[in-house]
Amino acid sequence: MRRNSWKEYQKEVADDRYYYLRSCIRQNFFPGSEKAFLKIVGEELGRDIFDDPAHTSCTGIGYHSDIVPYETIMTVVARQFAMMTEAGYENAAVSCITSFGVYTETLETWNEFPDIEAKVRENLYKATGREFRKPRNVSHASDIIFHHREEIGRRAKHRLVNRFTGEPLRGVEHIGCHYAKIFPREGIGGVEFPYVLAGMIEAWGGSVVDYPERRHCCGFGFRNYLVQANRGYSVANSQKKFESMAPFKPDFIVANCPGCAMFLDRWQYTIAEIEGTTYGEDGRGIPVLTYEELAGLVLGYDPWELGLQMHQVDVEPLLNKLGVDYDPAAKYLVTNGRYIGCPEPAMVNMGAE
């Protein structure tokens, strides 16, 4: 019965006509993921999605580092909505979990305190001369992939099955705290049984790892990573998750939030360098993917066009299990096949051989 509890938390996800709101962290560390998302939604699924050069950061990292006041970020959010209104769209497609939390928190505040919404409208007009309509629908970009998961599954070039054993690949899913912990009804499956990523894994043939620290924070903690002196907090919380998931021998981790994907990748490198501990097979790390990368691999996209060479933990063990036909020598080539050198080796990539 518990397994189906996610069905109690359903949310409306718009089917078409999306206004894309990019993520500072995703485009910084996973630019191929945002490109893949636009390709999947626009070309594979034939939906209308608008990538507007005029929108900016939501300033969420500044807000959760407490240097940007709530009144300020609500007005930046209002400006994003004004851009969306002017472009003729009503459905926000948000590429970042921090931003998603900020948008939902802002809309909730406006619902409960109409005087605050009125003040924000006044401030936005004073600052920019712009006005806005509130969105009809706010979905995280992963909600949109989840919404279309069966259609993506029908187009799959690769199922999430280990081609050497025939067994479903074991995926750890990490949904990111601000997806559903702030407003559980805004997340598919709510806060207890989030299904947004698990649903993708299952629809594409894989199995989901349930492990004790599944809901624990990745350890970002905003100021606890951004300031060098505090990073022990961040790595310690990630390590708690790795220690908890490792006995289940996951084939991959997939993350909802771009920050989580980056930390779960980079802290594996750090822990290996500091302690010599690795959590994946054969002395390597566990490959970490964004959900766009996972969908892209299922659809048969080239891993280097997806940007998987930008990860610290090698993804090749997973590509081999999936049966992806890739050119290992092309990993670090740039446009026109130009070679610009490659990264130094690291313990997390060396393996036990």
């Binding site: 240097i67 300020t72 940007g307 670090y332």
Partner: protein, 231 residues
């Protein structure tokens, strides 16, 4: 009611985040910061609830309010519908307005955050850009990031030909008129006032500590100093 409590209640997040705490401690049980630091969100909420001016001022000057990672894991767990994370946000906001944040090592880090994230938002329209994530300040990013950082133009243009130029796509350059609007929003809504307060109080504290004001040296001090007495 105490004056600090009244000031806190002007923040809508306090009205949303603190109803009546029964001290059950569930928030502390799930808190990633409580696992790592000598930190107890239950105790903070309990103190604020007393409305006692001396006790709240001590909090505003303390290390304690700066440990929270704002993950909001506490929010869905509280049986009374409180959000200790929101209470922390309100306390930090007030601590900066009153200048108390410079009295703690963790609080002084707000200067580094303002310089690195805050000014970056105003200058680029992003919280983070590739050139900003310096490998020497981010050893944990590893050799792949170092390779990306050294070849950022070659790497990012594979995904977006308008990298750091105007147009759509990942890490595009945000146009000056959009940046002007963001700056105006900060001016109109108190964002710039907050930045100025952080600068002003940090400069005063920097001089007290023997620096020549809130300069690059003080910035690196706030970014790296750790007395290891937080656990």
């Amino acid at each position: 009611m105490g004056k600090y409590y009244d000031m806190l209640m002007e923040d809508v997040r306090m009205r949303e985040g603190l109803k009546a705490c029964m001290n059950c401690g569930v928030c502390t049980a799930v808190c990633p910061a409580a696992e790592f630091y000598n930190y107890d969100p239950r105790q903070i909420v309990s103190t604020v609830q007393t409305q006692d001016d001396d006790a709240i001022e001590a909090l505003l000057r303390s290390e304690t309010i700066w440990y929270c990672g704002e993950c909001m894991s506490c929010r869905p767990r509280c049986p009374r519908g409180n959000t200790p994370g929101y209470v922390i946000q309100a306390l930090r906001n007030l601590s900066q307005k009153l200048g108390f944040f410079t009295e703690s090592e963790k609080g002084r880090q707000q200067f580094a955050l303002k310089k690195m994230i805050g000014e970056h938002i105003l200058n680029t329209g992003y919280c983070v850009t590739p050139r900003m994530v310096l490998p020497e300040r981010h050893q944990e990013q590893g050799p792949v990031w170092k390779w990306i950082h050294e070849h950022d133009k070659e790497v990012y243009t594979m995904f977006n030909p308008t990298y750091m130029n105007e147009g759509p796509g990942a890490m595009r350059r945000i146009a000056d008129d959009s940046l002007q609007e963001i700056r105006r929003i900060f001016e109109v809504t108190g964002g710039m006032e907050m930045f100025d307060a952080i600068e002003r109080y940090s400069d005063k504290k920097a001089r007290e500590l023997g620096f020549d004001g809130a300069d690059e040296k003080y910035l690196m001090y706030t970014y790296t100093e750790n007395n290891n007495c937080h656990h």
